[in-house]
């Protein structure tokens, strides 16, 4: 048997070959490399550890267990589906960086120590930004730059945290960490940025919708899921994460409701789904982490499917705002159907994939008696149905007829979406296969009569609420507008504060400098008066007066001496 290679090697080195090849070969290789790399990955088993020595320093480049293998499989699947969706591309930049991006994600999840994780972490940032810049317009350039700065900062936090961690514990191991020293907090913050924790989330909302139609599909799969993996590896069972995750499931619902750009709506719904995973990680080993990674698995597929369907719409019509779209089911019936499968999956309808993963997190919350968390997650489940399950397909494909008539999505896009949709239904209908890959043994059974019934009641009445609001024309229309989010801080407030300071500060500085100049001028005049040829200090003094001064000084000294001697 041939020894397997490092799982990230084929993707990373293979992607370097891509730009050298002519268009036709490049497309084929883009599809073939994830497959070859997956075959290689099948030769890798749980429990392996590879260490290499770089300049006398041992680096653990590979460490496998069920957790890292699951993410490894998932990223290969995502790379293949994304590459298939992007098969029509002729852009060397996007093809190369897309594949390298997948390789970076694989490198990060198999990292045995924090140094390798850091390399993967930064490589993720550097390679993914090209999916945004490849849009080649001014907005994308700005959004990409902000994205890059935030992700590089996350990497630097990780590096500083690693350095502190090494100093304190003498270990670079990437494993469970106790939240008891600054190093662990720095590392958690680095993970939190990539995981879109509340207030650190805005890079996702800002950047993903500016990516190319195919780029957003790549982006939706890797970065945030690597962060979920890292959290599950190092901070499983940290109780604060339960609440952080609960907040993440709730606040994007309101934003998604009033957002016009449908890919931005998907961005908000992504944070909502990540929230479920963070709650799962916070609930800790066993069912919590199982639920989190199962949901990461299904989310990559259905969120990828939704991003693909919106990418296809953008690709065909050039529009992505809800206010510009509508009635597209007439032109793109297959895309419509596949999008609805994605919508049903993210909404967790029975027989679709969300039903077997999202509810596992909720069951874990129930097991640990977290009533409030459960109520919040229930609210979030109904909310996500509303914006991702109904709003996305409704405003793109139905609603009022925008009059746009276009061709159906290209066949390679349809095949990619079809495969993703098939996986959503397969995983939803036969969850045992996914469950067997999970890191802990699964005792959870999603298909009980009560569960199916309660879920249907929750979801159908949410649909009913939406329908009645539409019928009575109470549903808020899609508006051509944007909504302020936390990027307001760094795009308006901080620059504004600096500008205000400059505006107020400039006259003050001018006044100060005028006053100083005036004062210096006076000083120079005085000095001139004293030192010019007829100034006091430049005059020639008589010997006479010198002797008098010396005499005076000596007398003062004598007096002082005598005073000292007095009893």
């Amino acid at each position: 048997m041939i020894e397997p290679l490092h799982p990230a090697l084929i993707l990373l080195l293979g992607s370097l070959l891509l730009p050298l090849l002519p268009n036709g070969y490049r497309k084929v290789l883009l599809l073939a490399l994830p497959v070859a790399s997956f075959v290689n990955l099948l030769g890798i088993e749980a429990g392996m550890q590879w260490t290499i020595s770089i300049a006398g320093f041992d680096v653990e480049v590979l460490r496998t267990d069920k957790l890292s293998l699951l993410f490894g499989y998932l990223f290969h699947l995502a790379a293949f589906l994304s590459a298939l969706f992007a098969f029509g591309l002729q852009d060397r930049v996007q093809q190369t960086s897309g594949l390298m991006y997948a390789g970076a994600a694989v490198l990060a999840v198999f990292a045995g120590d924090l140094i390798v994780l850091f390399v993967g972490w930064e490589l993720l940032a550097l390679t993914s930004v090209f999916q945004i810049w490849a849009r080649r317009n001014e907005r994308a350039r700005g959004a990409g730059m902000r994205y890059l700065m935030i992700h590089i900062s996350s990497g630097l936090l990780l590096l500083v945290g690693t350095a502190f961690h090494y100093e304190q514990t003498g270990s670079l191991g990437f494993g469970p960490m106790a939240l008891d020293d600054p190093a662990a907090y720095l590392i958690l913050l680095a993970f939190g940025i990539k995981c879109a924790f509340p207030l650190l989330h805005n890079w996702l909302i800002d950047a993903y919708p500016e990516a190319t139609p195919t780029g957003a599909v790549f982006l939706s799969a890797f970065t945030t899921k690597v962060a979920i993996y890292a959290l599950a590896r190092s901070f499983a069972g940290v109780e604060a994460l339960i609440w952080v995750g609960a907040i993440m499931t709730v606040f994007p619902i309101f934003y998604a409701m009033i957002e016009n750009d449908l890919r931005r709506v998907l961005g908000y719904s992504m944070i909502n789904q990540l929230g479920f995973m963070v709650v799962g990680v916070g609930l800790g080993e066993g069912m919590g982490v199982n639920g989190a990674v199962a949901h990461a698995f299904t989310d990559v597929i259905f969120k990828g499917l939704l991003f693909m369907s919106m990418g296809a719409v953008l690709f065909r019509t050039g529009h992505i705002n809800g206010s510009d779209l509508g009635g597209l089911y007439k032109s793109m019936p297959i895309t419509t159907g596949l999008c609805i499968v994605g919508a049903a999956s993210i909404s967790a309808f029975p027989l679709f994939s969300g039903f077997v993963s999202k509810t596992m997190v909720m069951a874990a919350a129930v097991d640990q008696g977290h009533l409030w968390v459960w109520l919040i997650l229930l609210f979030a489940s109904a909310g996500v149905l509303h914006h991702a399950g109904i709003k996305i397909p409704f405003f793109a494909f139905f609603a009022h007829d925008s009059g746009i008539r276009c061709k159906e999505a290209p066949s390679h896009m349809l095949v990619a979406m079809g495969l993703a949709a098939a996986l959503c239904v397969l995983i939803g209908s036969f969850p045992q296969f996914l469950y067997s890959l999970l890191p802990y043994p699964v005792t959870y059974e999603p298909y009980t009569t009560t569960h199916i019934l309660t879920q249907l009641q929750l979801l159908l009445f949410s649909v009913l609420g939406f329908t009645l609001l539409q019928v009575f024309k109470l549903y808020p229309p899609e508006l051509r507008a944007i909504n302020l989010d936390s990027d307001f801080l760094y795009r308006r407030l901080f620059p504004g504060v600096v500008q205000t300071m400059v505006r107020i500060g400039t006259p003050v500085r001018d006044q100060v400098s005028i006053a100083t100049k005036r004062w210096l001028n006076h000083l120079i005049i005085i000095i001139k008066r004293l030192h010019t040829p007829d100034g006091i200090l430049s005059r020639t003094w008589l010997t006479n007066s010198s002797v008098q001064i010396i005499l005076l000084l000596l007398s003062i000294y004598l007096l002082y001496y005598l005073l000292q001697r007095l009893p």
Binding site: Y255, G403, T450, T467, L469, L474, R480, A481, I482, R492
Partner: protein, 90 residues
């Protein structure tokens, strides 16, 4: 971008009858799933005594319905506060 040619072909939901039919199907489904509560005794998610409300008739249905209304109301309030022109940051 102007639409090229508006087709004459009538599509599924161009006919208001079909839309009405779909809506009625939804109403019927809703009534059915909530009525099952009367005949089928649901297992409680939480242990006895922690959260009795979930056993009430139609708890999940009401919860889902209220969620949607609440989200719309709160989001409309947020829109008043947070809405800006599309080129706000440009």
């Amino acid at each position: 971008m102007k639409p090229p040619i508006l087709e004459k072909k009538n599509h599924l939901f161009d006919n208001p009858r079909n839309v009405r039919w779909l809506r009625r199907a939804l109403y019927v489904l809703c009534v059915v799933v909530v009525l099952i509560d009367l005949v089928y005794h649901r297992h409680l998610t939480f242990e006895e005594g922690i959260f009795s409300a979930e056993g009430w008739f139609g708890f999940y249905a009401i919860y889902g319905f209220i969620t949607v209304i609440l989200v719309v109301v709160v989001a409309l309030g947020m829109r008043k506060l947070l809405k800006r022109e599309e080129d706000y940051y440009d």
